[in-house]
Every structure is written in structure tokens, then in C-alpha cells.
Symmetry: C2
Subunit: 419 residues, 2 copies
């Protein structure tokens, strides 16, 4: 059979570097990979015939194959920084915890779980401090849910495809899906006797940034959890160990990590993080605040840069879609730049506020083609074009960049971001 190398793997260090060199989007940020560029490592070796030698014995904690070296794309912007999930490398919807994206404003704190305390106070009958063991004694809930940074996709929006050597990781790697587990926040608010006049609460982290956000009480009564586990195990440090707030379907920054305090009030707190940041400029010198919900979005993960199709024929277009409003009901694919659209298949089960996989077989004729995907959610909301987003929010908008993306397949099989 012909060798049909999909080339869908993780970009090499060189490829990542090339993408970055071609991109002004990095701004003041330093890409760790670029700063620490090393000589390429020699390829690992394996025996010619593995059946002829006894294999190695188990280890208490497993390791990846030496042939697989996925990496998050790290950006350090002192004092704040981020890392991006290698979306083009992954199948399914679960993101391994050590490849989940991260974003923080003061680095990752080191917290002793035995000394951890969460204070709930303000408009409550019984101000209370909970230790980690106290939280674990409450009923636990576990849910597969996406988490996305509100700034995800900003690079693609600003650059409009002028920097085509951009992978899904670089463009949209600030979204991941995990199974989050913890105590429903409403149980804690009932325990402390939240007063009926409380309409907002402040969530405060114990990192160097003392990250704070105001959250409407409705979210607590709905589906907010105080999470202490991710994909089965305790939270990873960069995800808020030992405890974070988790607000399904809402922009990531509001799911405050390293959570140490919840204060109930009858108004929002207007903190630094919701005034200097996380407010979206609109046309006409207006702005919208508290734009928590993440709108429907879809993203092709194959074929995308740096993959290369090695010839015409059947290829499966693959990607992920998600919405903060509930379930994705439809993803359409265009292979002619948006002139015609056809439905992709969605991988069951389609869970609410969770990445869902879509796929569609495409018989490539070997000529240039432009691939696009468009998601619709259960509220009827349709992922907008870049033009529609511009019209609604103006060119200076920040955050919530869910416009349709395009990928250009060249006749030589190379694939580039096209706006």
C-alpha cells in the first residue's frame, strides 16, 4: 500500500519557530521554544524485531513513548504567562492534564494542601472557613467541560491570515476539555446561609496577582463548582491546585484558580481584572462588561498548518466545536471558501459545554481549496464570519474571537492559515 503519511503530528521545533518568526502576534512575548532552541535530538532507537527481546517492566507512573514529544507552546510575558494545547496533535475531546492550556497573571503558586483554606463571607448568615478535607466531604460532581481563555483566537482575528504559518495550537490553543470534579458551589452557599439580597460574589485567588472577578449569583445556583480534581486526579498546579472555581461555559479567567475567598454582595466589585482587562471595546467608544459566556465556535484541526497532504484522494477533515450555551447541534464544512456548505458528522455523545469532535470525508481533487467550518448551537446561534464580528464589535475589540477560520490547501498539499 502506498505510504500516506498524514503529517498531522505536532509541529517540530523548527516549524513552530518558523510560524512565530512570521507572526507579529507574539508581540512583547517571548516564545520559550525560540529562546531555548537546541540542536535537534537524535531519533530514539527501537529494536528491529521487538518480539525477540523481553520488554521492560511496569513503572508506578507511566511515561510517553520516546517517539512522542508533545509540548505546549509557552509564552512568558513577565509577570503573566500562558501555554497552549497542541490541538493538531490530539484526537477525541479529553485533553491530558499536562497538555491543558494555562494562563495566569502572576505565575503558578506553590500551595500546601494541608494549609489550604477557603473563606466564604460577606452577605451570609455564617461566615465559614473550609479546609480541603471539609470541601471533599460535600457531595462531589464530575463533568466533562471545555475551558477557553476569553482572548483565544485574538491572533487570528488581528492578523487575518497575513501570517499563514500558524498552527491550531498557536492560533487557538487556549481551549481544552477535561473532566472537572468538585463540590457544587450552591451546596457551599446553602451551608453558609447566603442572604437573598446577595446578587454577586467576588472570587479571589491566592496567586501573586491576587486574581479577582465578580460573578453573578445565578451561576452559583446553576452549575458552578468548586473543583479539586481534573481528569480523575487532584488539580495540576497550573490549574489551581488544590482548589479552583469552575464556571462551565464561561470565559476562563472567571474560573478563578488557587481560590481562597468568596465574598457575597449586592453588586459587582469592579476589580482591576474586570476594568483594565476582560471588558470588550465596542464601536462608538462603548464597551461591554461581564461578557462571561463563550459563544459557539468550531476549529478545523486537520488538515491545517503544518500538515501537508501527500496527494489527491479521500482525506478526513477533522476538528472540534464547542459553545458555552449548551450543546452544539451542527457543524458545517465548506471546501470552496464558503460558497457551499455540507454537514459534518458529530461524534456522540454531544455533551453540553464540552468540546465535540466533528469530521467529514473530503475527496480532494489536487487543486487549491479553502476549508472552513461553521458551528451552530442549541440556541440557534451560528458562528459568525469575521466581517459580522467586526461589524458588531469594531476592529478594536478584544476577547471572544469566535469568527469562522479559513485554511488554504495548496495544490502541492501544503496547508496555510488564510484568515
Amino acid at each position: 500500500m502506498a505510504k500516506n503519511r498524514e503529517s498531522g503530528g505536532l509541529p517540530s521545533r523548527r516549524e513552530v519557530l518558523a510560524g512565530v518568526v512570521g507572526s507579529a502576534a507574539v508581540g512583547a512575548g517571548a516564545l520559550a521554544g525560540a529562546q531555548q532552541a537546541e540542536a535537534p535530538k537524535p531519533r530514539p532507537r527501537a529494536p528491529e524485531d521487538p518480539t525477540k527481546m523481553q520488554g521492560r517492566v511496569p513503572s508506578p507512573v507511566g511515561q510517553r513513548s520516546a517517539f512522542e514529544t508533545p509540548e505546549r507552546m509557552v509564552r512568558v510575558l513577565e509577570p503573566s504567562s500562558s501555554s497552549r494545547t497542541p490541538l493538531q496533535y490530539l484526537q477525541g475531546v479529553v485533553t491530558p492534564a499536562d497538555l491543558h492550556f494555562e494562563r495566569h497573571h502572576g505565575g503558578i503558586p506553590n500551595i500546601d494542601p494541608e494549609r489550604y483554606e477557603l473563606l466564604i463571607h460577606g452577605m451570609v448568615e455564617r461566615p465559614t472557613t473550609f479546609r480541603l478535607a471539609d470541601l471533599k466531604r460535600f457531595p462531589v460532581e464530575s463533568r466533562l467541560r471545555f475551558l477557553e481563555c476569553s482572548g483565544n483566537g485574538g491572533t487570528a482575528f488581528q492578523n487575518r491570515g497575513r501570517y499563514p504559518r500558524m498552527s491550531p495550537q498557536e492560533m487557538d490553543g487556549l481551549t481544552s476539555t477535561s473532566e472537572w470534579a468538585g463540590v457544587p458551589l450552591k451546596l457551599l452557599f446553602r451551608e453558609v446561609g447566603a442572604r437573598p439580597e446577595a446578587t454577586w460574589f467576588l472570587a479571589e485567588g491566592m496567586d501573586a496577582a491576587v486574581m479577582t472577578r465578580s460573578v453573578p449569583m445565578e451561576k452559583a445556583w446553576d452549575d458552578a463548582i468548586v473543583a479539586y480534581a481534573q481528569n480523575g486526579e487532584p488539580l495540576r498546579p497550573e490549574q489551581g491546585y488544590p482548589v479552583r472555581l469552575f464556571l462551565p461555559g464561561w470565559e476562563g479567567n472567571a474560573s478563578v484558580k488557587w481560590l481562597r475567598r468568596l465574598e457575597l454582595s449586592d453588586r459587582p466589585f469592579m476589580t482591576r481584572e474586570e476594568t483594565s482587562k476582560y471588558t470588550d471595546p465596542l464601536p462608538g467608544e462603548k464597551a461591554r462588561m461581564f461578557s462571561f459566556g463563550m459563544d459557539a465556535k468550531s476549529l478545523i484541526t486537520f488538515p491545517t498548518f503544518p500538515a501537508r497532504l501527500d496527494g489527491p484522494g479521500w482525506w478526513e477533515i477533522r476538528g472540534i466545536a464547542w459553545t458555552g450555551r449548551g450543546r452544539i447541534t451542527r457543524v458545517e464544512i465548506s471546501t470552496d471558501g464558503g460558497d457551499t456548505w455540507e454537514d459534518a458528522e458529530l461524534q456522540e455523545p454531544v455533551l453540553p459545554k464540552c468540546h465535540v469532535r466533528f469530521r467529514k470525508l473530503w475527496n480532494w481533487n489536487g487543486r487549491g481549496a479553502t476549508l472552513m467550518s461553521r458551528a451552530t448551537d442549541e440556541t440557534g446561534y451560528v458562528q459568525p464570519t469575521r466581517e459580522a464580528l467586526l461589524q458588531a464589535r469594531g476592529s478594536y475589540t478584544r476577547y471572544h474571537y469566535n469568527q469562522i477560520r479559513s485554511w488554504r490547501v495548496e495544490s502541492d498539499g501544503q496547508v496555510f492559515f488564510a484568515g
Copy 2:
């Protein structure tokens, strides 16, 4: 608030050791932890106030908190070996890939994915060799599914609670849930032109054991996949990297890892692995072969040894249930040794052939109590008692130990396996 330490964490090395010392179940096996017992490590340190210092920057691949050191329980029985998932340490259903149980008969082979080939031949029109890139070009399917070793729980069955210092990990740690992704086997069988007279196929691994099993063709036309990804990323080496067979709901050994050959035939191959092993003795010098399906089973994971309840009051009984026949429809809990039963809550979504979480609040009065769980699946099958299993299969039976387990809570809060 009083300190309510759940003690639901991973057993310490000392506790694991204690459980092993008290257990004849280890048999000829050497527990790696016991052999390599070291002085306890000093507790990691953390700053008094993490807000007063800049945290660390992101890394390309994340690490666990220094305060969290989960381990699989490793047993090396040269040339075969296993490792067990720390079930009492985990929440939700997703098992991190590096904590997924493993079992192999010739160690873990080291395979170069570029040289990997899968041959499909026998009763087919077009014998074909597929490279990894060829397999990835077929449509991909991803599913959250459990995988359980057919021998899981044998220790508990044979020991009947005579060795009470046994954790869920030691007793039943050969089951885990992951999101498995790959190409549906039926697509490959259509590609090679499987002949209608083919009723079985042989699956062969490229490990030192050259593991082989015969599988009915029905499973291929149903839901078998040729898997190359687990929880998003490429398979881990101990899970069959780069490619394994995955047969949802069937005993683990039939999901042949490091898959190199599929041969179609009109009869089973009667290989070593299905004659010397994986055939279940029955009463009257009979035996049953090809007992692939895993019956319904449930397992309490908290409170269990080595946890200790630090006082009377409300505690949440938690665990997992699963069945190879489809969906779990009910899990009942008894706190009085089986005299009375009440329904536990199941965590949505309840997926077929997948672990599901159950939980039930229990108001412990501080006196001795015996906890049990009982699962029912969508076919109406009910998890049997030990007596019923003995009657059906005899005391010399091996494999498929899904009898109801009991845990004894002593008045001092200690919890022990009770049969």
C-alpha cells in the same frame, strides 16, 4: 470549622506495604513498592503566603504538585507483569493515561512508529499491509470506554476478606476508563474484502509474548476499533503504542496490544492464550471458553481501606460501576450488610461500556456498619453475591470475579475489606 480529614487519598507506601504484608494474595508476585521500600521522603515545602512571591512560569509539559505522588501498584512476575490503578485516589471516570492499569505477558516492547506495520490477511480478497499513516487516514472514532482485566478481583474472591487491609487499588485496580480513538475495524475489513465465510479472526501482538487471541467477526462488525490514541494523545507504550485492538466491554486480554497481524478464518485458532489461560473452570470438570463479555460490577471507592472516618455524621459513599453489556441502570447501596438496599445517584452522562460514578449520602451513627454496592445493567443483569458466583462457577473458577464486595466500618472509623 472542625477539621474533617477524609483520608480518602492514596495509601502511603507504608500503608500499601501493610496491606501487602497482611495479604497472601500477592502469591509469587513481588510488589515493587515492597522491594524498593525507602525512607519516607521529607514533606515538600510551600511559602507561608503564596501571594507574596511571583509564581513559576509555564513548562511545555506539566507536572503534578510535589504534594501529590500517585502510584500504580506494580507486580512483576517474570516474564509477565502488571500495574494497578489507584482507584481510591481518583474522582470522576477518566483515568490519566500514566495511571491506567497495565497487564502484559512479555514486558512492554519498544516500537518505532515509522517502521510499524499491520498485516490483514487470511480469508480476505486483498491481503494488505497498513502503516500507521495509512490507518490514520481512515475515519476516526473516539469513545469513552472502560477496560478491565478478566482476572480483576480474583484476590478478593479467593481471600473472602481474610486479609482485610486491602485497598480498592490492590483488589480491583485492573480496571480503568479512557477515551480511545482509532479506525473502526469494520472499515479495514471492508477495505481488504473480508470473505463472508470468515467467522473469526486472529489478533497478534508484536511483544515478546507474541500475544494472540481469536475474536468472533461479529465484534468487528459491531464496535471494535484499531486504536492509536488514548485520552487525546498517542497510546502510551504499556497500552500498545503505536496501535492496539480495542474491543469495548470485553475482557482486556482480547484487546491485543502492539497489534501487528489480523488473520481471518472460519474457526477460532485455539491459541496458547485461550487454552492455557483465559478459559474459566466450572463445576463438574467443565470449563467455558471465549467468555469475552465483562458482566456488571460495582465497587465502592470511599470509604474503603486505608481511609478512616474521623467521626459520625454525613459521609458520601462513592464508587464506580460498569458493564460490558451496555449501560448501568442502577446501583444500590446497603449499609447493613445486605439486609436493606437503597438507590445511589448515578453521575450523568451514563455512557455504555464505561465506568459511571455513583454516590449516596450516609448518616453514620458511629457504630460498626457493613457497606455493599450492587449494580444492575440495561439487560436486567444484577451483580451477584459471592455465593451465587460460587454456585454457578465453582470454587476453582478463574476470571470474571464480579461478586458484590463488602467493607466493614469499625466504630473507630477504620474501614476494612470484609469479603
